[in-house]
Symmetry: C2
Subunit: 216 residues, 2 copies
Amino acid sequence: MAIPRAAKTQRRTRIQEEKEEIILEAALDVFSVSGFRGSTIDQIAEVAGMSKPNLLYYFRTKEAMHRALIDRVLFTWLEPLRAFDANGNPESEIRSYIRRKLEMARDFPRESRLFANEMLQGAPHVEDELRGPLKSLVDEKVEVIRTWAQAGKIAKCDPYHLIFSIWSTTQHYADFDVQVRAVLGPEHSGEGRFEDAARYLEQLFVDGLRIRGPRA
Amino acid sequence: MAIPRAAKTQRRTRIQEEKEEIILEAALDVFSVSGFRGSTIDQIAEVAGMSKPNLLYYFRTKEAMHRALIDRVLFTWLEPLRAFDANGNPESEIRSYIRRKLEMARDFPRESRLFANEMLQGAPHVEDELRGPLKSLVDEKVEVIRTWAQAGKIAKCDPYHLIFSIWSTTQHYADFDVQVRAVLGPEHSGEGRFEDAARYLEQLFVDGLRIRGPRA
DNA sequence: TGTAATGTTTACCAATCGGTCAAATTATCC
DNA sequence: GGATAATTTGACCGATTGGTAAACATTACA
């Protein structure tokens, strides 16, 4: 008798590891474009190259697949912020945070879109994670930024909105990719647009945070 | 015999105007949360408070409803950018553009989310509008900004990415509203967050664009 | 190599999907 | 007030949805 999801053996089979990976990969393809409600198990099964019941053998419901995916993505999504170092140099920390977030937008656009889709729908599946781990981490980094500002290392600013603006500007290049390409035109839609964005954003944020000297 | 959508009379009935308005309002509610694929005619019909066939009497297909909605939203979405005045003062023009966009995020979050949903899905229904009218308008304003920079009125910067960053930061407060509220916590989730955002963003962009004098 | 656990497939289900149709109801205008 | 056009509804359709049952195939391990 088949017992899905290794309930009996505790240890996961080689096949389980492989297939679950393939499924989550396919699920990411589909969910990131159509959102939870707009995606179907059949679509995912087709992308994964296996039958629907086979897929449901590994993840018993559509919700289960989505949850597994969200958990994984949320973790990597927060990586750059976690790397934000209180002991580093403010300017270079912000610079590399922007760079890291832009690299994620370039290298993992599906993950970014999955997350964006979830937010647009009111975060029905991750509200707890937002209020818990996410808020805690942000609060922690906000304190760092505040300390920097009080020490006169950077200009005073609202740290929450600073973080929001870095999130939104960087993720924009993943989530609104079609729009960016359409506006830039085919001649500027190569991968170079990420370098242009990095240059622009670093200038924007670093200059914006520099302590302003005697007015020009 | 009933001829849908006033094919015969040319002029639209009072009832037609009213009902189409109610339907589009309901459709905005639903589409903005679940996207096109994830929304159902039944949902919209329920929100609109009428039967499904009745709804389909005014809009023959789900696509027709979505298109009518997109056309309307795209127009108002571009209003602030259209208002961007080449003859105005650069600093105050950018300031009021940011303010206008933030007001839209506050007052029309569903419209912003509808648009974001469409972008996430690869803009299957509006790619032409992006490449055509949108790109033209942006190109026009990019020239304005470029002229300002060349005249030494503002710092040099990539005008395209400047516009992208204003779009993304302002729309963030509509599209990622749940996240913003979760991170700010219940005590800062009142309408005041838009004022805080406005203050922060105006400072960020205006300072970032000020010609920098002798270094501080 | 045998066998028990694991993995896969075919056939199927009830619910929901987008959409149609004809009949019933209501508004409009002379 | 009656005819005519406009509106609304309930019953229905085939396709698709998320998910199940059980037979079948494969793997792992003694």
